[in-house]
Symmetry: C2
Subunit: 312 residues, 2 copies
């Protein structure tokens, strides 16, 4: 059975039924099925919104990723942006464009993946849009809330700050490179660092914060964009999974290249005043935290030449 | 010059410069350029969010619509959903997927159109996403606010209510039909009924409300979905532009068909308790208001068979 057999409203009904099975949190005043969703933040909260798209042939291939994994990863990418602002999720809207001959089972899998992550992070699907297209494009806008004036910004780093990352880097890029070479599918779904982000937003002495979606080199560029600063990174200190360097060499890939240029780790990269130590931060955030360098005054030569993911 | 000549971040910079020329309202705490946008609603407001996509070859063709008109219409479609909830706009995020060989001038026109409507309705561009794709897909999520608990719903109609529409219907469908037949381009940009919607949300005795995007017959179906009600419409009373019936006949189109099945008028369709009269509503809302029928008990035979815009 294809999308065209069910029709637009048939597909929407099917998704609405899956959403209703999840239950609706109290802050969702109006969910799917009206002209717009209505969400109720708490008193004294700002609204946070981030949008991100997954395009067939650019961000994913059906041959290298299951529909369920695609759905999970798509929501995680957006939740990770909320995490980087220190926000808690309220809900998300989702616009799907897909060819009419797309099997309904593929949409079922995609929705199951979206809703699995939605449930895990308390971020329900509250609205969407469905359209025909020649290729699949999944666009998600995640909505969240953060205490008034407490949102983490990219532009908070100062000279003298130390640079930290949560978790380990490189695993996502290694898996994608293997899948692209025909060795296995992409199965890994990163965890958005929502709790860690919310804690960072409450701590004092935190500088700039960004989530690692494009890759360390590229996202570091975004963190320092426009500021008369650069970063000194100790590449050997960048945390990686056990056995990572050897696995890269077996796949004839350069581990350093994957660590610096590989994206989609969805860990947080942030700077903090020098008094903030690794161990204390890890305890406060509840996740591994590693110091990987420091922020220094002046623009680096060759800035902007770092490799990273470019769309055009 | 094409998108691929400028690169992803070159295009984003170009858009950011256009946005900065507009000025930023005070409720935008963090706009473009961070991981997510941060907006500050007033105390005692709910958050409203609506998403909608325009797909090349499905919703528009570059041959029948200028990039500027496309941009304006895309934002209007979303603002109209906010209007139907009685919300005031706070800002919007925009995900654009486009082929790398898209001329930059086309994107400039599109952005100019988006920003023209943004400025007109006080709804700034606060974030977005840019991606390569085989065809153009423009996905907008509009964000707004409404006094706590005052959002208009689709599901508020009662038996005995009178049915009203704002403005006139049919002009959009007539223009699109002519453009599809190679006679002229689509130039008309409807006005989202934001002020009228906000007033409706404050009035008592208002039932269900929806904006007319799919067409009167189809949207009426949405308004009454799931309820043991149907509508009796007086087709002759449906308001149309002067000379509409004659213009339809010249184009060999059935005026009634365009009035019932033609979409994209973006007027409001709402029900109200019988004490609410046309003239008083028009005065309160500041736009033309016409009574077109009433809500009666019981499901109509053939319900759901009304023609309307279907994607698959």
């Amino acid at each position: 059975m294809n999308l065209s057999d069910l029709g637009e409203f048939g597909v929407i009904d099917r998704i609405a039924r899956a959403v209703r099975r999840m239950g609706v949190p109290r802050h969702v005043v109006i969910g799917m099925g009206d002209d717009a969703a209505v969400l109720r933040p708490r008193r004294g909260e700002d609204l946070v919104a981030s949008t991100d798209a997954m395009v067939e042939g650019v961000h994913f291939r059906w041959s290298t990723m299951s529909p369920r994994t695609l759905g999970r990863r798509a929501l995680v990418a957006n939740l990770s942006d909320l995490a980087a602002m220190g926000a808690r999720p309220l809900g998300f809207v989702c616009a799907l464009a897909a060819p009419p001959d797309t099997p309904v089972a593929r949409i079922d899998g995609l929705v199951a993946g979206l809703l699995a992550e939605a449930e895990r992070h308390g971020c329900p699907l509250v609205g969407g849009n469905l359209s025909a297209a020649r290729e699949a494009v999944l666009t998600i806008t995640a909505l969240g809330a953060v205490s008034t004036g407490r949102a983490l910004r990219r532009s908070g780093a100062r000279a003298g700050d130390r640079l930290f990352v949560t978790g380990v880097l490189g695993a996502a890029a290694l898996e994608v490179a293997r899948a692209e070479a025909g060795r296995g599918r992409v199965r890994r779904v990163p965890t958005p660092r929502l709790e860690a982000g919310r804690t960072l937003a409450r701590l004092s002495g935190i500088g700039g914060c960004i989530d690692l979606s494009d890759g360390l080199a590229s996202d570091l560029g975004h963190l320092l964009e426009g500021a008369p600063l650069h970063a000194e990174i100790e590449v050997g200190a960048v945390p990686r999974p056990p056995g990572f360097d050897a696995a890269c060499r077996r796949a004839r890939l350069d581990p350093e290249d994957l660590l610096l240029a590989g994206g989609e780790d969805y860990e947080l990269l942030f700077s903090a005043r020098p008094a903030r130590g690794e161990a204390a931060l890890a305890r406060a955030l509840g996740v591994p935290v590693t110091a990987i360098g420091r922020i220094v005054r002046g623009r680096a030569e060759g800035e902007g030449s770092a490799p990273g993911w470019r769309h055009f």
